[in-house]
């Protein structure tokens, strides 16, 4: 059979497959009926067979290109992307993530680096409040902080709180995610951002502790402190996970090691975003309010308890069906 006859006989099928592709592109494949889907699959297999035999049929190049493109399109329609499976999220968030984080060396490193630099900066700023804070943070920021905490906290009107909640979410979570992304640069980017954030925060804490306005300041930061600081460390740790996977590949190629690490790092980054959102809500509504200090301290203790429960109780390695190896 000559190519021209062969093409004439196959062209109708290819055109039909083309029409099915366009139909599915305009709506998802689930809305085709069962019969239509079966026909689509059958046409796809036939086009695959044609492509496989293109060489022996001696099909001309333009037909071969057309077939490549047609089979590619149909392949993408027939095997569509797998979206998020909400049912798996619960298991991921409550079972697998805590256990992974419990054993995560990068998270421990981020924790140690962050808190080490934080405490060092705080002690330094407390001991020499004239020179050290200015060098690290700059005069304007110090003056700004002093002005903010001059008066005792009275609580904002609810409008302002709404604005600040959104602002904190956008600002802090963006920084957290940028820290995560910068971790890809061999972990160095994440370390750099972590150290600089910790230094600035610690300096501010130490400086404010020397001022008479320290009561107001500590009243403000107590309530949302646990969630926010944990979220920062978590984001940095997840980023370093990615970066260090490029260096310490455990025998995989660098690309494969990166992909394996990213499969684990993304849930941690998303969890840190959740923590940032919680911290933002608390920071906007509870922290600046005029509630007594006891309430804010209780909120801080409660959030620390929740975090402790999550990381230690849920994360402690256990035997059984959910034990990770």
């Amino acid at each position: 059979m000559k190519v021209a006859e062969l093409l004439e006989s196959r062209r109708e099928n290819w055109r039909e497959l083309d029409r099915y592709c366009m139909l599915v592109e305009s709506r998802r494949a689930r809305t085709l009926g069962a019969a239509a889907t079966q026909r689509f699959a059958a046409l796809y297999r036939a086009a695959c067979a044609d492509l496989a035999l293109a060489d022996s049929y001696q099909l001309p190049p333009n037909t071969v290109h057309y077939l490549h493109q047609l089979v590619g399109r149909a392949h993408n329609q027939l095997y569509p992307s797998r979206t998020f499976e909400l049912a798996a999220w619960g298991e991921e968030l409550l079972y697998r993530l805590p256990q992974r984080l419990f054993k995560d060396n990068c998270l421990r490193l981020a924790f140690v680096v962050f808190w080490g630099v934080f405490l060092a900066a705080m002690i330094n700023a407390y001991l020499s409040p004239e020179r050290f804070p200015e060098q690290v943070v700059g005069k304007e920021m110090l003056q700004q902080m002093e002005e903010m905490y001059d008066k005792p906290l009275q609580g904002r009107d609810p409008n302002q709180s709404g604005v600040m909640a959104g602002f904190y979410v956008q600002h802090n979570a963006s920084i957290g995610l940028q820290c995560f992304a910068a971790g890809l640069l061999f972990g160095v980017g994440g370390l750099f951002i972590t150290i600089s954030n910790a230094a600035i925060l610690g300096t501010v804490f130490g400086y404010m502790a020397t001022l008479p306005a320290r009561d107001n300041f500590f009243q403000f930061v107590t309530a949302h402190g646990p969630f926010e600081l944990t979220a920062v460390v978590l984001g940095a740790g997840a980023g370093m996970r990615l970066g260090f996977a490029l260096i310490d590949t455990h025998g995989w190629s660098r690309g494969a090691s990166l992909r394996l690490a990213s499969r684990e790092a993304v849930p941690a980054a998303c969890f840190s975003v959740i923590l940032f959102c919680l911290a933002a809500v608390i920071e906007a509504y509870i922290s600046p309010s005029a509630l007594p200090y006891a309430v804010k301290a209780a909120v801080a203790v409660f959030s620390s308890g929740v975090l402790l429960f999550y990381f230690v109780m849920l994360g402690y390695p256990r035997e059984g069906e959910h034990a990770t190896g």
């Binding site: 190519v3 021209a4 190049p61 399109r73 392949h75 709180s161």
Partner: protein
């Protein structure tokens, strides 16, 4: 026969579960950049519309602060989750990518899942790295894409994805030879003519494109293959090379026997003029 070394091209070969190998065309920066710009435009317009709508609603309700807060949260979500959610739910396409007809697939040709979509968009901030004031220059992403045989930027490398072009093409059928002299010449060729695969491929390439060339150029191109064939087939020396290749093509691809034309037996033997 497959060639020894694959030609340097932006095509990547995928083997599917049906055990078929087909080729995707990779999307380079000149397709991805417009798609990204369209997405940025879309995000900005959504933000503007949201500002108006929410501002209006919240103004009517008197809750300005809450409205601004919602807008800030919306800005955050648009910034970081727009690409991820679209690519997960739209089979690897965002609106910008859909307009430019490109798609994200995993680098074995399989569809992407939600984690890959979200990760590659989170890591976009690294690819945008040398940020000049507010404008991201994406130099790190370009560098990574140019050092890779699949145009993968850093986010693609971490997520194991690549971006392919998916443009529907038209198929105009097999090229036909329109000159009746060529068809008559095809009848003159010996009946047991065997045409090898490489010759068949060359013939189909030639016939597909010969319409674009003037006739002198056609004769010049056709000469290299047609002259040895003419000698081999024992045709008279004045035979037009272009028509000989067309005749060979007709014989190989279209038909073995020529339809009965109303031509005299002498006309079939007349040499074809060399000037055509």
């Amino acid at each position: 026969m497959p060639s020894e070394s694959a030609p340097l091209d932006t095509r990547i070969e995928i083997v599917t579960p049906e055990n078929i190998a087909f080729q995707y065309r990779l999307a380079g920066p000149f397709r991805r950049l417009p798609a990204y710009l369209i997405d940025v435009l879309l995000r900005t317009s959504i933000l503007f519309i949201a500002v108006f709508a929410i501002g209006l609603m919240m103004g009517i309700l008197g809750q300005f602060g809450l409205g601004i807060g919602m807008i800030m949260v919306g800005w955050f979500v648009l910034d970081w989750f727009y690409g991820g959610l679209f690519e997960a739910y739209w089979n690897g396409q965002t609106p910008g990518k859909r307009l430019m007809r490109i798609r994200v697939v995993s680098d074995e040709g399989q569809p992407i899942n939600g984690v890959q979509a979200v990760l590659r968009n989170f890591l976009r901030s690294v690819d945008a790295m040398p940020v000049a004031f507010v404008v991201p220059t994406y130099l790190l992403g370009l560098l990574s894409a140019s050092m890779n045989n699949r145009f993968q930027r850093l986010g693609d490398l971490a997520a194991g994805t690549m971006v392919i072009v998916e443009e529907p093409q038209r198929h105009y059928g097999v090229a036909r030879v329109s000159e009746p002299e060529a068809i008559r010449l095809a009848a003159d060729l010996p009946a047991n003519l065997a045409i090898s695969r490489s010759l068949a491929r060359a013939l189909s390439s030639y016939v597909q494109r010969r319409q674009a060339f003037p006739w002198r150029r056609r004769a010049e191109i056709a000469m290299h293959v047609a002259e040895p064939m003419r000698v081999k087939l024992g045709l008279p020396p004045g035979t037009s090379h272009d028509l000989l290749l067309c005749a060979l093509y007709h014989r190989a691809f279209i038909a073995d026997r020529v339809n009965e034309t109303a031509s005299s037996p002498f006309a079939a033997n007349a040499p074809v003029a060399a000037g055509r």
